[in-house]
Chain length 322, copies 2
């Protein structure tokens, strides 16, 4: 069975896993643990645990169809109650499990067992760390949530991101990358869900030296403050900056346009459809240079413009089965 | 398979179920839902859900041995975190499940399925109600928690307890009582875990008209403010007051004395060993009157003086298997 490793965080990874789950691949999700917002942020602050949000989403994506209620429960967010409002039940589940088992890694494994997960979910690191972004004006933004929803001028470009304190790789993440036949990166928030994985020590090197086929999936929409005005070329450039040039084998870009009624909400948020210009990829399109570009209709039309898990999985499966 | 129904609440029912679980009986726990203290109280207040505490304990007692971690998780209480401190994880689990499934009864069933429960747990009522106690001086105490840990003079006797608003029986509780071969009542806090069940409409009548063998298990210790100074006779008298005379077939009383070192904590709480005087039970001991008295060594020596689940189950099994 082909071993597929998906690297990222948030709903991007969720959609990739949800789609690929139906294929006969061995799936491993490697997810970020530098979230500090919302329910994860509170638990991190008050309990000193690793932020469980990204792990939770990956677990739910891979959960067995025989436990639909447990998966629903895991994603349930308390809507009332002074003390519980906003908390995701799955986050509380992982927090309590971490307390009982004594460490986050065991907690994730046990949660996977309880949810009947098909495959594995591996936190990229077990170290407590924070994500910093340096803006083009030299300012530092601290914490994923402040990068994600900028309180600063979102038109300012991010110059670089880094983790502090530095984080060691989870040995299980390294092992999974080594054994992988295919590594899928993204989609997801570039600086808060994708790049943070490469900032963890030894991860970048493990990916580079792996013999796996490496795929990067470009986002559908830009995000204000993170990727304002980004084209597909810009996304690829940033990934290559952090991962190295010539590492990726495939670059998957959506070419399906959203219906205009779904774009209004995004316009308010100053987010646009990620554009693709063939002239930005002359060498790649002529196969003179890696990565190979794959343009496909990958959109799920809806209020939230995301990759359609089935469409995306179909394109991915073709590459994986090669 | 003999159908055994255990009626009560709190740790008393937990111990009975834990012991009986190893025998080939079909077990059903019918538990109180008038708790308003601690984690249950907060959830009740903030979410308007039924208080999950007693249901949770019964679920854990009957949970499958193949899910020890889930059972542990269910009983886990958050010890830190501004917002979560004191909350039992199992209570949050049941609250989230009630929100997802839409009602408490389904939530309890689903939780039972997830925990691999052997048998059933049935809330005695699905109505939201409060427990009131009228003291001998005419004062009213509102809420289980205020009766349980008295803020009033605990030497004042409780004249009567009642539910307001009145609560209808859960039809599943009535059905279970009707089908029962044996009904076990207690042990447990007399006025807050046992009697409240009889106050729910139709429950008392269902027990009385059932052809099941009926057993009441006397408490080991008195409780300040609830059963201050109570002897075994007093416990039986109160049960007969609420359930009717001649209903019980067996009255099980512990005769094993606690080691004195374990009594210090209880002395501080003004709680004593429940004493048994043969002269209080002349007719019963001569088999001229029901219930039949069974005196046995049932104690688990320890900081918390409780029934030993195995010793108690042995005595119960003898009656059930008759």
């Amino acid at each position: 069975m082909k071993r597929v490793v998906v690297i990222g965080g948030g709903t991007g990874v969720f959609n990739v896993l949800t789609g690929l789950k139906k294929y006969p691949f061995h799936l491993t999700a490697i997810v970020t643990v530098s979230d500090n917002g919302g329910s994860s942020g509170i638990l991190r602050e008050e309990f000193g645990v690793l932020p469980p949000g990204d792990v939770r989403r990956a677990l739910v994506a891979l959960s067995s169809s025989s436990t639909p209620l447990l998966a629903k429960l895991f994603n349930y967010r308390f809507k009332d109650g002074e003390s519980l409002k906003g908390h995701s039940f799955g986050n509380l589940f992982l927090t309590a499990l971490e307390r009982i088992t004594g460490d986050f890694s065991s907690a994730v494994k046990e949660a996977g067992r309880i949810l009947g997960v098909k495959g594995e979910v591996i936190p990229v690191s077990l170290d407590k760390t924070r994500l910093f972004a340096e803006l083009e004006n030299g300012y530092l933004v601290v914490g994923e949530t402040n990068i994600d929803v900028p309180k600063h001028d979102g038109n300012l470009k991010i110059k670089r991101v880094f983790l502090n304190p530095p984080a060691k790789a989870n040995p299980e993440a390294i092992a999974a990358i080594k054994k992988a036949d295919v590594i899928i990166i993204g989609p997801g928030d570039l600086y808060t869900s994708i790049v943070p994985n490469f900032l963890v020590r030894r991860i970048k090197q493990a990916i580079k030296s792996s013999s796996a086929t490496k795929i990067y999936i470009c986002n559908i929409m830009t995000k204000y403050g993170e990727t304002t005005g980004f084209t597909a070329r810009d996304f690829l450039t940033i990934i290559e900056k952090y991962l190295g040039k010539g590492v990726l084998d495939y670059f998957i870009v959506n070419k399906e346009l959203p219906q205009s009624r779904y774009l209004k909400k995004y316009q308010k948020e100053q987010a646009q459809v990620v554009s693709f210009s063939p002239k930005d990829f002359v060498a790649e399109l002529q196969h003179k240079k890696k990565p190979q570009i794959i343009l496909a209709n990958l959109l799920r039309q809806g209020k939230l413009l995301r990759h359609d898990p089935q469409k995306l999985a179909k394109v991915l499966a073709k590459i994986i089965e090669k």
